[in-house]
Symmetry: C2
Subunit: 807 residues, 2 copies
């Protein structure tokens, strides 16, 4: 770098290291004798048994208790599973059970490294929690044999934790979301502690990196607590982790800054005393913070506990095989002995490894577990066991839904649909003061939902104004955190709403897909009961993001939903305030869906009175007679609006056509439930062909003005008979900061474009129309250009553009 | 919480606060006299002028220099823009120019809060950088008038920073990515410093929260530096920010933990001395770290500088209007006086506000700027100015592409496509040792690209093994960081590759869309030159994620690309190793595209020799004569494979049909360039109808076995004439941990399903076939069930399943 600067480096390079004083921030505890010798032995036996089973699950297809020397024939033909994280998951599980047994703690176990399924499943089997849900997984030889030999095979438990795994509330696939989910789960569950293991791989993700702030949005008076355990084992798939290379000073500074008290758990020779003491300390801190808040004297910026647990990757695996380190290296991440089925050295290493747990001391010859392995660790109360928590069975606490009609708008008025929704949500919150929440990326006011703030507050504990007051609204500028908290809240039996700018909901696209996979498998798993729906509200859509411009225009979340299983995917585009209310009331009642509702926050015409709106929403679509020629009977062309602004332009186009092509018989249809359009039988809401024809005719041209990307609706409709008569326009990735009507013009969704499409379509089917079609569409395009020129000259839309058409 | 725990809260509640000692970690500087009085006056004048212009841009349509008292008629009809962040952006800009002028620093200005466009544009005008690119924005009354009156209006600059804004390399829409982009920009630009403003709203996002770790992947010997400035003004749209409620101790701990030295810049009464001194200190620290590394003696874990700049939100706006605080509150976020056009109090407040900058002291009456406003601040060297940096003009440094044919595989062999690609990438890296990088979320080994590690290393400065050694590979388990770094690297004229598991690339869906918007506007902006392509490699696809299971199955990134503008969106599914090589060599040569390449890492048959592969890739699709009946002449049915495994099943289906329906004339087509399938003219690669018919016939049944979600391909093809003969299957969101072939079975993409589809299709068109169609399809489904039963019984696919069919 050229030139001169005033300051020389300060402090000098050597001193650029962090000061030793930081180490004082580590929580020091005397843990040497937390446990009796017997307790330590109990925990060790439990862990040995669980680790044995977990390792066996990865490798063995027979000889599962090492009844004889292992042979290559005992090894599964395909070795699947991730060993690296298992011993850590087992360690936490054992200690969680111990403390539950001792204190009666209500705890959920939320696991970030879901690839460590063997470590979790082995513990569930030892708990005898599996047999509660799956009669084939009894705690005897039959159940153990199945657990081990069928793991990761078709029909057995899959390689990652999912909704088939009892006690789980989190899909163990895409990393980064466990911590936020844990925060959502404990909200409004004041006695619950979610112990959340975050792997040091997962800790590198953005969603986790910001989820640490979750406590700033959790009121200890009304909600439970999360105890995060960062499992630092140093390696990802093949590279070292960030957290694995950070020293104590760096870690303690980072987590102190996030707002935590940091306790390192790393005495591997005395890990049981270390972890037991650390957990007891942590739960004591949690209790102190909660008691202070619940006695009306909340601690300012309470520093919640976090444990940083350093144990070797794949701890207790062979140290070295073929001259390469296994335990403590990335080689232990997945299958530590990948050639155990053919290589003698590896088979012998496996024999030693498995024998090291001493299975004969742990299991009876009939495959049952010796009582001393589990008795000292497991709680006596079945319902307290990790695998049998009622919160994870997702019994939906139904909402008391207020009458939405009381919030309905007068037909003909100009009303903000989200504004009307805000008044309804206010009532929802009043009636469901501990089972409903709103998670929003700081857009509540902007999206005109702020009426809810009349009866509740923003729950932001770091802000003096809202600290200690609770509140149903969380506004954090992290869509990932909003989504994770909503998932945790929903999967533990409650229900919420995630309002968002349309363009930015796609930030959680893959998170939502992970959630949908969890829900799909739950729906195929007998013991799962109902959950509420996951509800999204998209507003500030592209059609009215002419002010923020191109970057704020992206309706692709529709496509994300369309790819899901039809059994639970729903997309609604209510065309006015009354339809919005009817739709949202339905969503809050409905169970197990993923609902995407898209509407405007701007004042727009109320086309339907409340009863018409309700009927329209139940039907999903209907002919809008008032906007059609002769009430839409026997049309030459069908114009379809899907979405608020798209429908407005369709109605305006029908009015234009009345004026310019008075002989053209135009039918106007609005679709509010997108899923009706798919081919017969493709979705529970898909219209039969007969009903489809009743709305759209059998053979007349149909032009659809669609709110989303045209390609997505085209994909949905593909397979309906006779689509060659259907044309579709929508958002075509054109826009900038401009006027509202210019957005319609540049995306070819304006009334002029719709009217021209109608004429072109009709001309193909009707000689009368075709005579002057070219002239008329040219004239319409001329009008479009005139408006565009006006907009670019005056900076605004021509006067009257958005006046309601008269008929 | 019930029960007893060993430890009582420790330390007690009051002491749970962070210790005062942490405050010592703040960097202390004596900044009282960094600047001369004249220098302070210069900077203040520049800032006043810039702030004046920025505020005027939001409000005025006439009377732009307050030549007379403001009237309601001077106010724009629609007030757009975000004032809150502008004064901060101006402050940094002024000081950046000052230090460039003084030291000749090479600096890029990367702005997170892109909604502060007025603050940036006003500075660019003062720099006289706008007129270099837009002749209408001269630094005189004409240019100023246009800048102010046309801002946020059609034809003027949009409300957010984008590629139309000179000097910008980052779309100013979706928040969270600026910091990661800055890191990418300085890589392999050793003299460059990217000064990156991160807003305290943006700082709440996950992507930013983990991007702070970026320095851990930046070798100061080979790359430049990022100077992050966290702009803490305390409020988002309507809620306080996390960082705004964190105190000095929390912030200094957090950033020390991230690895930084923290300097607070917050003396608002002497902000120029404070910021000037702090920037000089920061640049001195950067130089020290770089010099140490470049002299071969790198500092261990260097603590790079970060500035935390606390200034009031909307600083210098009116203090209070209508009894409500404006400056320093969320009311200043957007338009502080929204009714200035009608309300007298607001108009008067605006008059006072704008007058407070003293425009008459800053501007000459002809609208030119007084020399004393800019002379003391702006660098003399035009190319050093923020708005004229060559890096931001994106002149693509072309790669020296090795001959891919040297890495090609033998026809008939079983070869991993990504393995072959790894050997090619090794050569790419050797030939382009400072202009090509790989950004991967820890999946390089898993995705079989590790051959590159023979000639380069993983660049991970926190790991003792790789520190100080540079390296072309960055593996951080944050897709957001990978994407942001790749964007910054690409938009400054270089080129890279982002390999990812297929299911998790969607994590960056909306980031990619933001990038595409930047690129789209750049392509419509005359002064932009070429950039390289943004290259994605998806492997570990759903079809071979039978081991990790359902959570790892999600091909939706294809749909993300399909929604983009056809001018730059490309999706390739090369069917074998040779096609992979040909495709990737093309992608590295091509300019300005977003390339998505999808292929397998497993050994799969090499169907085409290198010359056939090249021809096939150029054509995008062709009839595979070797797998067809009579070389595919005059077929009864066309079977199409898109994707590696889908194509294998199609070929196996053709072999099955030969056996079971020997009279059926089957043509096999492979599509490697997905975009050829869209309707004529829909995409530059879309086949004409004539060419489409040549491949797929005019009227014969076509069954497409597609790698992605069927709905996405259906959307793409909609509009091709005669689609009712086309059926499409693909990933239908079914899967678990199972065998590879079971994935085909449960998604109906197996050879049996393909063959049955062929027979059903042919039966609809051919009476001969229809006679026994039902019987034959039943038999095929029986075979499918038999295989399924085998898989569930034995846990593996039937022997020989993936043997290459013989013909």
């Amino acid at each position: 770098m050229p030139g001169q600067v005033l300051y020389e480096a300060n402090p000098p390079p050597e001193a650029s290291r962090l000061p030793e004083e930081l180490l004082k921030l580590r929580v020091q505890l005397d843990v040497t004798n937390v446990l009796t010798k017997d307790e330590v032995e109990s925990l060790k036996r439990f862990r040995r048994a669980a680790n044995y089973i977990a390792a066996a699950m990865i490798f063995l297809k027979s000889n599962i208790l090492l009844e004889k020397e292992l042979s290559h024939e005992d090894i599964k033909p395909r070795l699947l599973g991730h060993w690296g994280t298992c011993p850590g998951l087992v360690l936490v599980h054992a200690h969680l059970n111990r403390i539950i047994k001792k204190t009666g703690l209500d705890a959920l176990y939320v696991i970030g490294p879901g690839h460590g399924a063997p470590g979790y499943l082995s513990c569930l089997w030892l708990e005898d929690s599996l047999s509660k849900f799956y009669s084939e997984y009894t705690r005897d030889m039959k159940g153990l044999h199945r657990l081990i030999t069928k793991f990761s095979l078709p029909g057995g438990f899959p390689s990652h934790i999912n909704s088939e795994t009892p006690g789980a509330i989190h899909e163990g696939g895409e990393l980064g979301y466990a911590l936020g989910v844990a925060f959502g789960a404990v909200m409004d569950n004041p006695d619950l502690v979610a112990v959340c293991v975050v792997g040091d791989g997962e800790a590198e993700t953005g969603p986790t990196a910001t989820a640490w702030h979750g406590y700033k949005y959790l009121d200890p008076a009304e909600s439970g607590a999360v105890l995060p355990i960062v499992h630092v084992n140093g390696f990802k798939i093949s590279e070292r982790t960030i957290y694995g290379t950070m020293d104590d000073k760096e870690l303690v500074a980072l987590f102190s800054g996030y707002g935590y008290q940091v306790r390192f758990v790393e005495d591997v020779d005395h890990i049981d005393n270390d972890l037991a003491g650390s957990m007891e300390w942590a739960l004591g801190e949690i209790r102190t913070i909660q008691q202070a808040a619940r006695s009306g004297n909340p601690i300012v910026k309470p520093r919640w506990p976090v444990l940083i647990m350093r144990t070797p990757k794949g701890w207790s695996a062979p140290k070295k095989v073929h001259g390469e380190f296994i335990e403590g290296s990335f080689h232990a991440h997945q299958v530590p002995l990948p050639k155990a089925g053919e290589d003698d050295e590896e088979l012998s290493a496996l024999q030693s490894w498995l024998s090291s747990y001493g299975p004969r001391e742990l299991f009876n010859t009939d495959g049952t577990i010796k009582s001393e392995v589990v008795d000292g660790v497991l709680p006596d109360d079945e319902e307290k066991k990790i695998g049998q928590r009622k919160e994870a069975m997702r019994t939906f606490i139904e909402l008391d839904i207020p009458a939405w009609r009381e919030h309905s708008a007068e037909q003909g008025d100009m009303v903000s649909a989200t504004g009307a929704l805000g008044t309804f949500l206010k009532d929802v919150i009043e009636r469901n003061s501990s089972t409903f929440r709103i998670f929003s990326p700081d857009e509540l006011e902007s999206n005109k939902l702020s009426d809810v703030l009349k009866v509740t507050g923003r729950n932001f504990q770091w802000d003096v104004a809202s600290r200690g007051k609770g509140g149903r609204v969380i506004e954090i500028l992290s869509e990932h955190t909003c989504q994770a908290m909503l998932q945790g809240y929903t999967l533990t039996g409650r229900c919420g709403l995630f309002p968002s700018y349309e363009a930015f909901l796609g930030i959680v696209h893959t998170m939502m897909v992970q959630y949908s996979k969890f829900v799909k498998m739950a729906s195929e798993t007998k013991w799962h009961t109902n959950i509420g729906s996951l509800n999204y509200l998209e507003t500030s859509t592209w059609a009215r993001q002419e002010h923020n411009g191109f970057s704020h225009q992206n309706p692709s979340f529709i496509g994300a939903i369309l790819n899901l299983k039809p059994t639970f995917s729903r997309v609604y585009l209510p065309p006015d305030a009354n339809c919005m209310l009817s739709t949202m009331a339905h969503c809050f009642r409905a169970r197990g869906y993923i609902n995407l509702v898209i509407g405007s926050k701007q004042p727009t015409p109320v086309w339907l009175d409340k009863e018409e709106a309700d009927k329209h929403c139940i039907a999903g679509a209907s002919v809008w007679k008032f906007a059609s020629v002769d009430e839409g009977v026997n049309p030459d062309v069908v114009l379809v609006g899907v979405g608020v602004e798209m429908t407005f332009e369709v109605i305006a186009a029908a009015a234009l056509l009345r004026q310019h092509s008075p002989h053209l018989r135009v039918r106007v249809v609005n679709v509010t439930d997108l899923m009706i359009l798919g081919p017969e039988h493709s979705h529970p809401h898909a219209l039969t062909d007969t009903d489809f024809y009743a709305l759209f005719t059998e053979d007349k041209p149909v032009h659809i003005n669609f709110h989303g990307y045209p390609i997505e609706l085209k994909g949905l409709m593909f397979g309906r008979p006779g689509l060659s008569r259907v044309t579709i326009e929508g958002y075509r990735e054109e826009g900038t900061t401009t006027s509202p009507f210019d957005m319609m013009l540049c995306n070819r969704t304006s009334r002029y474009h719709v009217a021209a499409a109608a004429i072109r379509g009709a001309a193909l089917h009707n000689a009368k129309v075709s005579i002057d079609a070219h002239e008329k569409t040219s004239y319409l395009m001329h009008l479009a250009q005139k408006d565009k020129a006006y907009i670019y000259e005056h900076g605004t839309d021509p006067k009257g553009t958005f006046d309601k058409p008269t008929f």
